[in-house]
């Protein structure tokens, strides 16, 4: 950490473990619950197994790994959306997580979802009134902003979510495959916004299977495999190692 003496930490993860209890995870019916008590035993999915790292302000960190390696679980745990089993997660600011699965209210219009999402993030109605036009403008959804969210394509949803999540100027932004579905114009605008955030000592955590994207955007890469940290370092070296692991 020699050259990072003056940089402030934004995320510190120490020996993080995240388990899913399988039955609990499936929101088991009473019958199954009783069955587990009477002898079949409980089963766990050990999704993250003892991961540790430090991330500094201004870092753009890519997270790579095979499907089901625990990347999304790791991000959710850092965002405080998943309970951790053991270990420690410390952050300098409330992280904002953008995921593909995220949905707000499918029956409400895009415009209504922006208002609702911003309020859920902690804005008052007055603040939302003030900013909603800028957010709508950024999505560039045009007339579609007044259509119900359920009619949106995945790319349009991604625009909406990105605009909402970045409207609060988060210090820590985590993107889980959410931008891959955006078109060229939107990628360009979202990248500009991310770069501006990084320049202001923000932190980016990016999960994507597009290794080119990682090589372009990131200054550091974490490689997660089966819930464990395989490598942590220079983007090109880590990507090369990952490529030779899963050709």
């Amino acid at each position: 950490m020699g050259d990072a003496v003056s940089a402030e930490l934004s995320i510190r993860v120490r020996d993080l473990h995240v388990d899913y209890e399988l039955f609990e995870n499936r929101r088991a019916a009473l019958r199954q619950r009783v069955a587990t008590r009477t002898g079949t035993g409980r089963s766990y999915v050990h999704a993250v197994r003892g991961v540790s790292f430090d991330i500094f302000e201004g870092d753009a960190v890519g997270v790579i790994g095979s499907n089901g390696s625990g990347k999304s679980t790791l991000l959710s745990a850092i965002a405080g959306l998943l309970p951790i089993t053991s270990g420690e997660v410390l952050v300098s600011d409330e992280p904002k997580l953008l995921g593909v699965g995220a949905t707000l209210m499918p029956a409400a219009t895009g415009y209504r979802n922006i208002r609702l999402g911003c309020m859920a993030l902690g804005m008052s109605a007055a603040e939302v009134d003030e900013r909603v036009d800028d957010i709508v403008e950024f999505t560039q959804l045009g007339e579609a902003i007044n259509r119900p969210l359920r009619t949106y394509s995945s790319g349009m949803r991604a625009r909406l979510h990105f605009a909402i999540a970045t409207s609060v100027h988060p210090q820590i932004l985590m993107i889980d495959e959410a931008l891959a579905v955006g078109d060229r114009a939107f990628r360009k605008r979202s990248n500009q916004r991310i770069q501006a955030m990084l320049a202001e000592a923000g932190t980016l955590l990016l999960v994507t299977h597009s290794l080119g994207e990682i090589a372009r955007q990131c200054t550091r890469v974490l490689w997660i495999e089966q819930g464990e940290l395989r490598a942590d370092g220079d983007p090109q070296e880590t990507i090369d190692a990952y490529r030779s692991f899963s050709p």
Partner: protein, 283 residues
């Protein structure tokens, strides 16, 4: 050279915060908790022909069915001066509670998308459900006011007390919604059982016929029924509404007991809900 601690600004993100901190987080999102039910109200029933009229149509049809079966059919209205009004007050107020608790049961499971992307005090979800049911109850209250005038009860100064009655009633509904939310998150079967529990509760709450009818004679073996009625808060809540709209007698000591009971129920329900805060929205 000064010693620099790069970790100085770091803090723990946890749902395990103090109650005052939790309440402060809830207060900071007070606009959200009103906007969410408004949105639900706006988008619910958009697929039905009559749209939002169903918020009123549903309880009105219930009243119609009970009136035909119990009023016209079984003559349960004997001894009640304004049975249609008496019945409507009971059905509407009782349905507010049953809809709040049933809505609370699914508050967590139906907002998983929101919980997966944004961190906020999860107690806001059952609260917003209860607020949404309270908003639709506004339609029903205006119908009650109209029927009160039409059936000759007239406008009364007692109506001014209605907001206080609503506060007490809402405390009870919130407590129930909190408890149902946690139970249903642990065992999904709960939402299937709740409607039947309320159907049972309906008959011991004096919603469609006066309970005194069964307790008049000094029957043996009525101890259980008497105990249930004595401890059933719905009986007292309905007494409050019937006092407001029909001027029926009210026992002040039992009103005080009801206020204390509902407040305690809210606190217990909230604590029970928070006990599993870390688990909501998992998976």
């Amino acid at each position: 050279m000064t010693i620099h601690d790069p970790a100085a600004r770091l803090r723990l993100l946890t749902s395990d915060v103090s109650t005052s901190r939790y309440l402060a987080d809830m207060w900071a999102r007070r606009d959200f908790v009103v906007a969410l039910p408004m949105e639900e109200l706006r988008s619910s029933h958009t697929n039905t022909l009559l749209g939002n009229i169903w918020h009123l149509g549903n309880p009105m049809l219930s009243v119609g069915v009970y009136y035909l079966v119990f009023g016209v059919g079984l003559r349960a209205d004997r001894g009640i001066e304004n049975y249609i009004m008496w019945l409507m007050v009971g059905v509407f107020a009782f349905h507010l509670t049953s809809r709040s608790v049933l809505g609370g049961a699914t508050a967590i499971s139906s907002n998983r998308g929101l919980m997966r992307s944004i961190r906020f005090p999860r107690a806001l979800l059952p609260i917003s459900v209860v607020i949404s049911r309270l908003l639709t109850f506004g339609f029903e209250l205006s119908v009650l006011a109209g029927v009160a005038v039409l059936t000759g009860e007239g406008i009364s100064r007692r109506w001014l007390v209605l907001p206080l009655v609503l506060v007490v009633h809402t405390a009870l509904n919130l407590g129930g919604a909190f408890i149902a939310a946690r139970l249903n998150d642990a065992f999904r079967d709960v939402q299937q059982i709740i409607p039947f529990l309320f159907r049972l509760l309906l008959y011991v709450s004096g919603v469609i016929f006066p309970l005194e009818r069964f307790l008049n004679a000094d029957n043996e073996g009525q101890d259980l029924l008497r105990t249930v009625i004595a401890w059933n808060p719905m009986v007292r809540i309905l007494d409050l509404y019937r006092w407001v709209f029909l001027g029926l007698p009210l026992d002040l000591a039992s009103v005080a007991g009801t206020v204390v009971f509902c407040a305690a129920f809210l606190v217990v329900g909230f604590a029970f809900f928070r006990g599993a805060e870390w688990r909501y929205g998992r998976g």
